[in-house]
Symmetry: D2
Subunit: 149 residues, 4 copies
């Protein structure tokens, strides 16, 4: 197919596929640890897009942008070149000015990394800002759905 | 969908889609010039895969790997966050130990960059090596098909 | 000067300088969050080198390599293009097969990020392995010195 | 030392040192081809700084920025982890709205890559713009000095 992957929701969890390329590896033959963060960011961006939040449109409108405020990642097993991975993202907590997202990277039924990212909603000047109520509602609904699964 | 994009051939040209994420941009609001090379490498990898050449399998078997020997890129227009791009790759020349690939990045019907990459086939010790005859034949067939289009 | 920065120890803490370039930023005008991890890795590599542990030599000798097993980073304030940053690294804990390193990034007297990285010592096959006793001793000495400061 | 490398001029050529880290390598044990472009950009930025052109200050003032319009790179020999490299940059041509810079990466007295980059001076809206006459004069003086060496 010649469209990029969008991922999709299942039971409140967003599933986003990633292929491992040369650019992602280092000389130990596995994916360089910081590159999982790029996979996670791609997955978050598509999860937000699926919720109706387009990053470039928000920036163009001067609304603001999500920025990582905190993250915690544990590496369980390595990914290799040509692997097909899935980033599974689900909402863990909804705060006034931030949403906490659990993001794990899987290869098939094996978890490779476990992550938790606090995405703060910032005004264009970089200051924290209350998330639009409409979005908080959607995040909360996702969280409820994931918790119920 | 939850599989990564593979791209596909049309008239001897391989079309591979790429989405632009935060990681790809720099503070001038556009895609950082070196990141187009990552897009191009993803596209080459999938083009080779479609031809039956899997990079990790070749490395595991101790066969060798393709390495960029030369590249030439011209930047015509910038890509932005959230853009969907297509890398169009076609074989330009088949040599004993290298294949020259033309790789242009488009956004819809607008060309953004024009590139030409010489991919040398190297033994595991890094020395140039004659490409498997079978592959040269496939590359040549693609080239003929693209030229005819 | 035409030698790369090595950093230096002061009171058990390793100080390593980093300049912010275009490659490090994203369209929000600040350093992309995952790129701080690259700064931290550079600083760890130089801290180890200063302790007599050269990564390439260890790999060539088939000894093993340090790999990130866990990390936790908090982002307090953003870095911008042309900024000169300092990564301050200190040993937090020495385990049998891993060393925990606190790594904060500062701009002058302002902390920008706070991080904690667990670096596991792995055999060439990727399995955890007891760190050489000699190194544990050096890490512990550094930790003692940092705690006393 | 705890300041980042600035590089220095010698006979009209700017010499900038780079250390190779894990982030720079790929699974073939050598520096990933696109990462040389990052080294080259760091070197260009410091060459410009040495000439009195600070990128962030130019952006803050709304003056504009240099953007790669074209590049051509040939890879002669690979760089490995822990290598200390030097990027040697010299002005090749000064045009109204762009400067062409030759940028080669060396390890000791061995050239690893040869590159040529056309850096276009762009207005904040991304359109080509005449370079400040003062800078053209400095670039031309450097070119004359390099040619005479």
């Amino acid at each position: 197919m010649i469209v990029p992957a969008l991922g999709q929701f299942a039971s409140g969890t967003h599933h986003f596929p990633v292929r491992v390329y040369f650019e992602d590896t280092d000389l130990t033959h596995i994916v360089y640890h910081a590159n999982y963060l790029r996979y996670m960011e791609r997955a978050r961006t598509e999860m937000l897009r699926a919720l109706g939040i387009e990053a470039q449109a928000m920036l163009d409108a001067g609304h603001g942008y999500y920025s990582v405020h905190e993250m915690h990642v544990t590496y369980l097993a390595p990914a290799k070149l040509d692997d097909i991975l899935t980033v599974r993202s689900h909402v863990v907590q909804v705060r006034a000015a931030a949403t906490v997202i659990g993001q794990d990277v899987w290869r098939g039924d094996q978890p490779l990394t476990r992550g938790r990212v606090t995405a703060a909603w910032l005004a264009m000047n970089g200051r924290p800002k209350r998330q639009p109520r409409d979005w908080s509602v959607r995040f909360s609904a996702l969280m409820t759905e994931a918790n119920a699964a």
